[in-house]
Symmetry: D2
Subunit: 402 residues, 4 copies
């Protein structure tokens, strides 16, 4: 037989442990903090939840085994991360929240042994948090990374970095930064970027205000960060000079997919809350769950969940084969970001006045998931990239056929 969608027994067991842990241990903690889920409750709570995750044998499913993780590939992460995402605090508990999870992934692929020891090890163990400093305010690197304006210039024995970043998730309280800076070329050119590693307490790193975004739950917020004559030594270069955009791709594809996994879990929680409610309540003389317009919303949620999962399976499999999978991840991300929003929005609608109130978690879920249609590349940018590829390849075929 060719196609196989079975998870190994080990992975299956981890899925179930994660499911139980998230629902029994973490969800009650989230609900306690329902009135203020800002920054996932902060680092003190994070440390406690992570200890519990370690005890439950579900901590760091993505991290390499030598750094205390379960070493799951992308395909196997999908169902585990989805279970963790069922609570907004679940990813923090398992140490698989953005951006740390993506940083672990990238460091495992690109860092040298010393860097792994110094930065990856404590990150994988949850001893520190981290931030990935790429996005800049207009006209800098936003949807179009090549617009990068932060600069690193040669300085004695290293580099001097200056620049202004924003929407840097987790910056407040991070232990170190991965910094994307231009080492050659000009804004608009698709080359010349380098990644640097720098401890957060390096002179010249200043974390500014938390941007007041619709979503609230990211630990460490989305911050402005300023690099003001930050000096780093040569060994701060992650990988090689001028290959930063290439490395960013190593991070971006998988990071898009793990975002999808986590938010899919959150959407499922919203759906479950709504279904439980309509199963229970009556309206207009019949059970809400028997009313057709409600049934349509329930079914559309099920379809959106199934399609998101199915697209995720495909994209993860391509990533695990070592492909760039940029088309598959763009498709899965775009579909998922819109589907997840629809699922939560319908769930809210199914619950009427309760749905838009704090008495159910739906309104807060809707705030958390909406920005995902913008973060990690707005839907419009992904569609633009998808179409470019298809039309471009049609043009080439026509040219070749002449």
């Amino acid at each position: 037989m060719s196609i196989d969608l079975t998870y190994s027994a080990d992975v299956q067991a981890l899925i179930e442990r994660t499911r139980a842990f998230t629902r029994d241990v973490i969800l009650p903690i989230e609900d306690e903090h329902a009135g203020d889920i800002t920054a996932a409750g902060g680092d003190a709570l994070r440390i406690g939840m992570q200890r519990a995750a370690k005890d439950a044998g579900v901590f760091a499913p993505h991290a390499p085994i030598e750094f205390g993780g379960h070493g799951l590939n992308m395909s196997d992460r999908a169902p585990v991360f989805e279970e963790a995402g069922y609570s907004l605090f679940g990813p923090t508990a398992l140490n698989i929240a953005a951006p740390d999870e993506g940083n672990v992934h990238m460091l495992a692929h690109i860092a040298n042994p010393e860097q792994k020891q110094r930065f990856l090890a404590p990150l994988a163990h949850g001893d520190v948090r981290s931030a990935f400093a790429m996005t800049e305010p207009a006209p800098g690197a936003g949807s179009d990374p090549s617009a990068l304006t932060t600069r690193a210039v040669r300085a004695d024995g290293g580099w001097r970095i200056n620049g202004h970043k924003w929407f840097i998730t987790g910056a407040d309280g991070a232990g170190f930064f991965i910094i994307m800076a231009r080492t050659s070329g000009e804004p608009g050119q698709r080359g010349g970027a380098t990644m640097f590693l720098a401890p957060a307490d390096s002179p010249g790193i200043r974390v500014g205000r938390h941007i007041d975004t619709l979503d609230r739950a990211m630990i460490g917020g989305h911050c402005e960060v300023f690099f003001e004559d930050l000096l780093v030594a040569d060994d701060a270069v992650l990988g090689e000079v001028d290959r930063g955009f290439e490395y960013a791709q190593v991070r971006l594809g998988p990071a898009r997919m793990t975002h999808v996994m986590r938010w899919l879990g959150a959407a499922r929680r919203g759906h479950d809350v709504a279904v439980a409610r309509v199963a229970q309540r009556e309206g207009f003389g019949s059970r809400l769950g028997d009313l057709g317009m409600i049934q349509k919303m329930v079914a559309d949620n099920e379809i959106d969940i199934a399609a998101t999962r199915a697209l995720l399976v495909r994209a993860c499999w391509e990533l695990d084969r070592g492909e760039s999978a940029s088309n598959a991840t763009s498709i899965a991300k775009t579909y998922a970001a819109e589907a997840i929003f629809r699922i939560v929005d319908r769930s809210m609608q199914m619950c009427g006045g309760m749905g838009v109130s704090g008495d159910l978690p739906l309104a807060r879920l809707s705030r958390e998931v909406r920005p995902f249609r913008v973060y990690d590349g707005p839907s419009e940018v992904h569609r633009w990239a998808i179409a470019k590829r298809v039309v471009g390849s049609a043009k080439r075929e026509m040219r070749d056929a002449r």
Copy 2:
């Protein structure tokens, strides 16, 4: 010529004064309070803004002329309220925010002269606020008003009222309540309701918690309210005993439409903010405003705005002719609630990361308008009512044809 969509010169002048007042005077105040728009800034701010509106000659466009208003009919209210709604604080400034605006409308139609003097006059002048206490937690009066459970029973020289309400907009700080209570029949029966007027400081009225809803800007919040052996005299009855459901219709149709007017103004502001931004910014080597996917969102917003306005014109005209207009108002409300949400959501999307942040007003607008798909009858309930009418009338025609 038959059809005429021209506003009279007086109304046109009022539209323009309202437009200038809202943008020049009120919008800066809203933006000052951007970080916390809760309860439209509170009653102190309200009183100041209302004084300014009086000075600008734009106060109380809906109130009867004898009570200091401009006496506009529904058709003429549409463009004026839309202009006021351009700021979330505008309706409060003009004294046309929910629920006061609808209460003025209803009292003008139903109250007797003494009640008008005692309740309508101060309300129309902005001396007090009011609340309309109808909605109850399940299984009471929600989407289906006939489920009303709050009871008023005969007591010496009046009535004793007991019941539990929620989502009572403006309750905290209101000067008086209009209370919907069952005086005969049982929950589920479409008759037997009566409306009562009671000062807020009457013993037996207790305002509970503010329900923590997605929207924030309503002055006085959405509260739980408890009536515990509230005693009212016979002259507290608004209109006649047992005709409450009928009176509620007098309020509901127009109230739906004024909600649409105000939120349409808010949606237009969102749209304008987004258009200004895309007109300004570049991305991918061309002005954002020249990119097709952005243009599609801009055009879809324009279409949604035009269709909402056009449906409003129709429904208001029917109301002004004295028709119940329940079909036209259901159609306009359902379309508008969804269109307004789409407009703000697209505007947010057009602005990317800025759009979901507090640096632009879009994220907060999106929170304010989302619940309108639930408030004033969820879209599903309106669709159900619309379909019932059409299919019912088809059935009657077929029966008659036999």
Copy 3:
């Protein structure tokens, strides 16, 4: 009172006569031809139906009174045309089918007295049909009229015209052509076009194949037309030389709206057929009309019908005031073309297997209305134009504010 949506008593009577005539006289004829509605049954049938329409006092509602019509303005045409459009053959019967109706409109505005006598009079009376020859195959005049390639060059005492047109509605059997040709400038320039009038039997006019379109009911088909050294005299010029694009606008705005009126009637028939069926049938143990997903489709149809009508009222009123109304007609056309398709598509879906069969008129209606999203400017082109205007005006405002 300002806004008024009442029709005059005369117009109201004409609406009702048209309604009765279309349903009692024309619909049975259409249904007889259900198996083959090609070209509305041909000219013999047309002549008979038009005689009946004259007898019923409903013929040519749009034509000037001096040419035997009712002289309705755009606002009053809307409900009359909608009633006629209830049958696919109705517009032909009333002589208000495309393109004749638009040609009557344009000739009434632009032709000189001799041209009116020679071309408009017989057209208005139904003695001949006509065609408007503008659209060309790529890379000629399509969505972008300025790409016009057909050329008229000065010849002895007149002009020699050469060019290739297609999608020329009604060409087969037309008595005369209105021809759009370039008299100066180059393809791509927004000037230099002239309109010419030419009898169909002029040497040098060749009507080619009928293009096999999804829709079938247009009398005279959608044809290719070739102008091969067609000689016309100077008095064949309609209006003035080089003002053709300007005149085209006179025709296009109103023609878009009359298309909407007619197709809206067709959509309403589809809706009525579906509602009658769901009112009658049972499924899963309850009347289909009581099932929520069916109710949703019924209600969405009602909303789409109401919004289309409301947008039409607005655009027609602007046109009647003598405005170009290009934004209002673009908005109404775009919304309507999509709404009309949705209405018919949902109606088909409500009827299940019957819906997609020839046992009900829905499948054939769906074929007729689909191309309207392309004809008269594809939705994408209208959206592009709408967005251009809005963003352009935002840019100007910002510039002025500096």
Copy 4:
């Protein structure tokens, strides 16, 4: 590694052979018949195409190896059927068109050895066609199969069958019928159905009119069929008496999925045609393929194709494991039927006037795929079933939790 989406080398080779065969051999034949694709060109053409398919080694990929097929499971059928579906005539050429393909599947699972020899063998080889006679006009078996009214009553040595069927695909020219008839119970009960096998020339089988459906390409049409005192012997019973509904499930799940596979191929052709065109053409001064609204449609097509395929992978895998997969097949069918329609509709729109004409295959593709939202269970019925399961299971959980 757990998840694997690789096809075996044999299957991969068959996919590629099918791709080449369909495009090089069959598509030119379809395009020759473009003006009239009725009944896939008829049986003479079918026999020729099937001979070619045998020569190309791509015939009967689904049939058991002992009956001359390739014996593919559902997972492996997906990409092969999709390639064949790229031409409307492809499935006929490979002998995998509905209903024969589903009948082969069912007979392979349920028929006894004699029945296999007599019916399955010639069907698998393409010597005869077949029909599956289940659907009845209202109020009989339609979306709700339990409404079955056709009856089989005991007769001497066998059964006497009376009933009226319609929408029986392939009936005209079929060699034999599989007949669903009620052997016990009453319409509305979910038991008591039996399947019978009967040669088409049996006295008492009468094939009525072809129903004039929007789609045209099904060989043998969609016909009415009458059973009038049809006598069959006991050995005509397929499987066991009274287990017909159960067997129907064996057929229905896979048949839904193979429909999706084939129509997905057709949708992809539509998409490819449109992409080729926009890659080639210019409009408004730039390549259409660079215009954002076109890019959006291209990208949305890609997303819909990817999601359909991904849902198919999931459902087929469940079916191959021997699960009923009724939820997964309902989800995949519902999503796919709507997505496939959207893909073709967008493709048509991208091509403007050409798109709705016979000059491109898009208009005819749109007619073929539209009914799939109705056939094999309307979307509404599948959504109803999906919601029932979810809400029902929520109710059980709540009951158990008490």
